[in-house]
Amino acid sequence: MSRQPQRALTEGPWVRALLISVALAFIGLFLLLPLIVVFTEALRNGVLPYLAAIREPDAVSALLLSLKIVAIVVPINVTFGIFAAWAIAKFRFPGRSLLVSLIDLPFAVSPVISGLVYVLLLGSRGVMGPLLQDWDIQIIFALPGMVLATLFVTFPFVARELIALMEQQGNDEEYAARTLGAGGWQIFLRVTLPNIKWALLYGALLSAARALGEFGAVSVVSAMCAATPTPCRCRSKSCTTNINFRQRSPWRRCWLCLRW
């Protein structure tokens, strides 16, 4: 009689084993196996050809471009992520829920489409095209365009990490600091920032990883044109269309290692 309720509340040991095996198999198949294959293929001919491939001028310029984009995008994301999270977590204002939904928008939109929208807006035949041409500013098919496209897809990461954490931590510490005589910046630097530092770091890392790995939006914006500098992953796509299989590996290897 007492065994029945126990059976109803906990699953049997075989169910547990099955669930764990399925989870491990999933991770193994879709995460570990491709990773192992990439590393194996990249180093198939040994370490030296791999290092030589990385030192080619095209490879170096691609790597530098990617890093440049990351160096611009991540600080901007961190700054505006903090602003957005602060406004959403600490205040109630009309349009707050809308702002939260908008922050999640880049996850819902295909990166290729977002790149396309930038072209339609800022390209030479786009809405703002003539204006930009008058001022002789090149956004699409140049670095600013790539930065903008990357910003769009990486923006949510920092904000989402921070909003959840700041809402959970509440406002009491900030109010206490206020009554003790601290000004706005002092409250932010001495009270808020130390409390969110790990979430901020994590959000920045996610943002950087996403920026390095972004392909769709940036490829549209840079139009895969061989004459323009293309970041690493674009090279990898153009290289995969090549018949030469072996040439693929170093490019993929280098952006993959930067991502990880």
Binding site: D172, A176, T179, R190
Partner: protein
């Protein structure tokens, strides 16, 4: 410093939270804002602190309107219910915070700050805890740190928002006594928000009972207890029974039982309120006139709580002290009688003043 509030009203969107509040706390006095949840007492406290702003009315510190000053400039010490200690700073840094964020020209030297922190930690009996972090302390200790931190800036008024609400009962009692001693020693004007009547009556020099955004009565604890202005105040302090009575020719009756004379303007139905510990339980043979049947007995460790149904049908809660009834043992279903020792009578019209205060 005297704190006064005049004509204060506050609404959150459509909901009015405070209606025309007037309150004066003289210098050095301890005032308690007592009321149930939703009565507006915390909002009132935060408006005095400058953490919220009112739609209309004035907040006066020594007769000077501070309504346009933010919390930063009002020099108030605020103690939160959940301590609000800075979790990433040590205790000593927490206490020093208020002094360290001052403007350069007003900021004391580092050595002075260290000394002041040591003094304050000594005052709250946490002298050796300076290097610890808040999560290494117990609730009572954290609240004392919060108090020390608030006192560091030499506030002109101390505001406490249910400071002992998150502590367990024993710690709460000890902290209460300690806080009262500290406040008397420092002579600091203080305002405490609480929903615990025992706390308010024990700590405060004056109690303001609030309900639905109004201050119903503001007086000394004794006056609040003995001469409550309305049934709500009576009922809020020490769970009261309500009995419907009538007045006839200057005499008070429950049903056909005469209770005593009552100077009332007219023959009418009135409400009688009596606290459960002001009712005496006696065997039926004692013949007080108020006969009834014992419905339920609960023993709460010392005091026994009895529920009696009177002949008129109303139920009355009675507290029976352990030494009472000359050793009678009560049984459920037993015929008993009750005597009302002290009670308050109020007219049934809403807002009427008591027709008589107490009777014996």
């Amino acid at each position: 410093m005297q704190v006064a509030v005049q004509g204060l009203s506050k609404a959150f969107g459509e909901t009015a939270v405070l209606h025309d509040i007037n309150l004066v706390v003289p210098e050095g006095q301890f005032c308690a804002l007592l009321g149930p949840s939703g009565s507006g007492k915390t909002t009132l406290l935060r408006i005095i602190a400058g953490l919220e702003f009112a739609e209309s009315g004035q907040v006066l510190f020594d007769n000077l309107d501070v309504a346009d000053r933010s919390a930063r400039d009002r020099q108030v010490g605020f103690v939160f219910q959940h301590y609000a200690l800075f979790r990433h700073m040590t205790i000593a840094d927490n206490v020093a915070f208020g002094l360290q964020v001052r403007e350069r020209k007003l900021r004391p030297a580092a050595a002075v700050i260290t000394r002041r922190v040591a003094e304050l930690l000594e005052l709250v009996q946490l002298a050796d805890y300076g290097a610890r972090y808040p999560d290494q302390l117990s609730g009572g200790q954290r609240q004392r740190v919060a108090l020390a931190r608030a006192l560091a800036i030499e506030p002109r008024v101390l505001l406490l928002d249910e400071p002992f609400g998150a502590l367990d009962a024993r710690v709460r009692k000890d902290m209460r006594t300690w806080l009262r001693g500290l406040q008397t020693k420092l002579g600091l004007t203080s305002i405490l928000v609480t929903h615990d009547q025992d706390e308010a009556l024990e700590l405060a020099d004056s109690v303001a009972v609030m309900e639905h955004g109004h201050i119903i009565q503001c007086a000394s604890p004794q006056a609040i207890y003995d001469q409550p202005a309305t049934p709500a105040v009576y009922a809020f302090l020490g769970g009261a029974n309500r009995l419907t009575c009538r007045v006839s020719n200057g005499q008070l009756f429950i049903g056909d039982v005469l209770l005593g004379p009552l100077a009332a303007s007219d023959d009418s139905a009135v409400d009688l309120y009596v606290r459960s510990h002001d009712v005496e339980l006696l065997p039926a043979a004692a013949g007080t006139g108020l006969q009834g049947e014992l419905l339920r007995l609960t023993w709460g460790g010392g005091m026994t709580h009895a529920l009696v149904r009177l002949q008129s049908g109303t139920t009355v809660e009675v507290d029976v002290p352990p030494w009472s009834a000359q050793g009678h043992s009560w049984g459920v279903g037993q015929a008993v009688s009750v005597r009302l020792r002290r009670y308050g009578v109020f007219g049934t019209r809403a807002g009427a003043h008591p027709a008589a205060s107490v009777g014996l």
